[in-house]
């Protein structure tokens, strides 16, 4: 049972190599998925997967931030740290979804946006800022799910949906507990204490009204099916709303903070 884990054990569980990868999750959720590439400006970031898939009967746009399953893949995907090109690709696909009135599902597993010299030159801050500005106004249902790590602004960029869910073994925070311990106590080894204090577990975040639902960890066909069913149900409910209703509820969700 996850609830018996300490906060830091939950951090480790969220980072575990055996955690389901975003690509595997997409393949399990969608009957057919076609990945699309590139930000139409500078490049294609392997840390961000995006495309269209069939969820049940209907096409949906799926975007995700993905770590690697092995070292080579992790190096290519920067351990799930997206670059500006990745955020712009996600935003391009989400805007396209709006044009064709397709709902959006964002699946997030990232320690944070990539901290690199080129990422800065290419406007990391600006890319995330645009994801927020445009994402909050998309006229289609938008569900965000934190699957593993939800690290800071790099996760928030895709976590401004109509509803935000977290997997049982996932965490969402302003920075890593190691970083928090370094800044506040100048000692990264105090990460376990930091994790306790930060309130980064799904239960703590749900109690604080930051997220809406905790999803049982997807480990087999049955848990995958129930996650898929939850997504389909929520999409159906959101799609029944008019656009003004959808936007006004999304506005209220973020205005309360």
């Amino acid at each position: 049972m996850s609830s018996s884990l300490t906060a830091y054990e939950r951090v480790l569980a969220a980072r575990k190599a055996s955690k389901i990868s975003i690509q595997t999750l997409i393949n399990g959720l969608c009957d057919d998925f076609m990945a699309f590439h590139g930000d139409r400006a500078a490049g294609d970031d392997p840390a961000v997967i995006g495309g269209i898939g069939l969820l049940g009967e209907q096409p949906v746009t799926v975007v995700g931030i993905q770590k690697g399953d092995d070292l080579a893949e992790n190096n290519a995907r920067h351990f799930g740290c997206a670059e500006p090109e990745g955020y712009r690709k996600a935003l391009r696909l989400m805007t396209q979804a709006e044009k064709f009135q397709r709902p959006i599902v964002a699946l997030i597993n990232t320690p944070g946006a990539f901290p690199g010299v080129d990422a800065e030159y290419h406007g990391q801050g600006s890319a995330i800022a645009q994801c927020l500005l445009t994402g909050l106004k998309l006229k289609v249902p938008y569900i965000s799910v934190i699957v593993g790590e939800g690290g800071s602004g790099g996760a928030l960029a895709l976590a401004v949906g109509d509803t935000v869910w977290m997997f049982e073994n996932s965490v969402y925070s302003i920075l890593s507990p190691e970083g928090y311990a370094t800044i506040l106590w100048k000692d990264s080894r105090k990460a376990p204490e930091a994790a306790e204090q930060m309130g980064l577990t799904p239960e703590a975040l749900k109690a604080a009204g930051i997220i809406d639902r905790i999803i049982p960890e997807v480990i087999d066909a049955a848990s995958l099916a129930s996650f898929k069913q939850a997504l389909c149900q929520k999409l159906q409910q959101l799609q029944a709303q008019s656009v003004p209703e959808l936007l006004s509820e999304r506005r209220a969700r973020y205005r309360q903070f």
Binding site: A113, A129, L156, I174, M198
Partner: protein, 280 residues
């Protein structure tokens, strides 16, 4: 020439001479490291060598860019849910130093005939970090200006998120972005002036969402901090890599405006947008 022609002053003589020079008469620029006579900083507080604008308190900034200013939400403070003693002490000290309730001063300003919403962040207040009350004040400024159909000018100065408020600090980025989006959809002008330093979550939200993004010479602007980059991926960033001049070159700023010209430049931009835009 005999070596004895000049005799070096003894250390006692040097310290006697130093005592004759009043403190603070010389200043050193933190960017170009040139020392200069303090009076050369001038009214605006600008390095005479490289043009870097020394950090300003919010009230001083308001005086420099507006003829009149009526503050709003002056009593809005960090929510009572944050009870950590160290944090409360930090807040108390920041309030005392800055005479502000939070890291941003907001209000309705007037320059000439132009009326506009004005927000100024103050880096002396816990490094201008984005607390819940900071976010609430900026959100309310945008909401008020959307309602009253006023443009917004926002001076950013921030180290980023406020660690002590954790995830609630992160949520401010979403809350403010929502208010910026609504102001924009209403066809209203938003000008951001990025001042030293503008980093982290502030860069990754409202600093980079304006219709027109200006900065002052030599301003530090970035998302990830230099130390984080060095320690995480072991890259050594070049000296100037997050300066305004570099961002201008890479296409993320509209213009760099020297501090002395900011007031007239902003007034001009407000005039040019007097008619307002098209609401969606």
């Amino acid at each position: 020439m005999p070596l004895s022609k000049f005799t070096a002053p003894t250390s006692k003589e040097i310290s006697f001479r130093m005592d004759k020079i009043p403190d603070h008469i010389w200043r050193q620029c933190p960017i170009c490291h040139q020392s200069f006579y303090e009076k050369k900083l001038g009214q605006a507080g600008v390095c005479p060598e490289c043009g870097y604008g020394f950090r300003l308190g919010a009230q001083k900034r308001v005086e420099q860019v507006a003829d009149q200013f009526k503050p709003i939400d002056v009593d809005l403070k960090a929510p009572a849910q944050f009870q950590d003693a160290k944090y409360l002490a930090k807040l108390a000290k920041a309030r005392q130093v800055t005479e502000l309730n939070e890291s941003v001063l907001t209000g309705i300003a007037r320059t000439g005939k132009q009326c506009f919403g004005l927000g100024v962040m103050d880096s002396r207040f816990i490094m201008g970090s984005l607390g819940s009350a900071t976010g609430e004040k900026i959100t309310r400024l945008f909401e008020k200006c959307t309602q009253e159909k006023l443009p917004v000018i926002l001076f950013t100065a921030s180290g980023g998120a406020r660690m002590q408020e954790g995830i609630h600090s992160l949520m401010q980025m979403a809350k403010i972005s929502q208010a910026v989006a609504e102001h924009s959809v209403a066809g209203l002008l938003y000008v951001a002036v990025l001042t030293d330093p503008t980093t982290g979550g502030v860069t990754a939200s409202y600093a980079m969402q304006a219709d027109i993004i200006l900065s002052e010479p030599r301003t530090l602007i970035g998302f990830a901090g230099r130390r984080v980059i060095e320690q995480t991926i072991h890259q050594k960033p070049p000296v100037d890599f997050q300066r305004a001049e570099t961002l201008l070159k890479h296409g993320f700023l509209d213009a760099i405006v020297p501090r002395a010209e900011l007031k007239t430049t902003l007034a001009k931009l407000l005039r040019w947008h007097q008619k307002g835009g098209q609401a969606e």
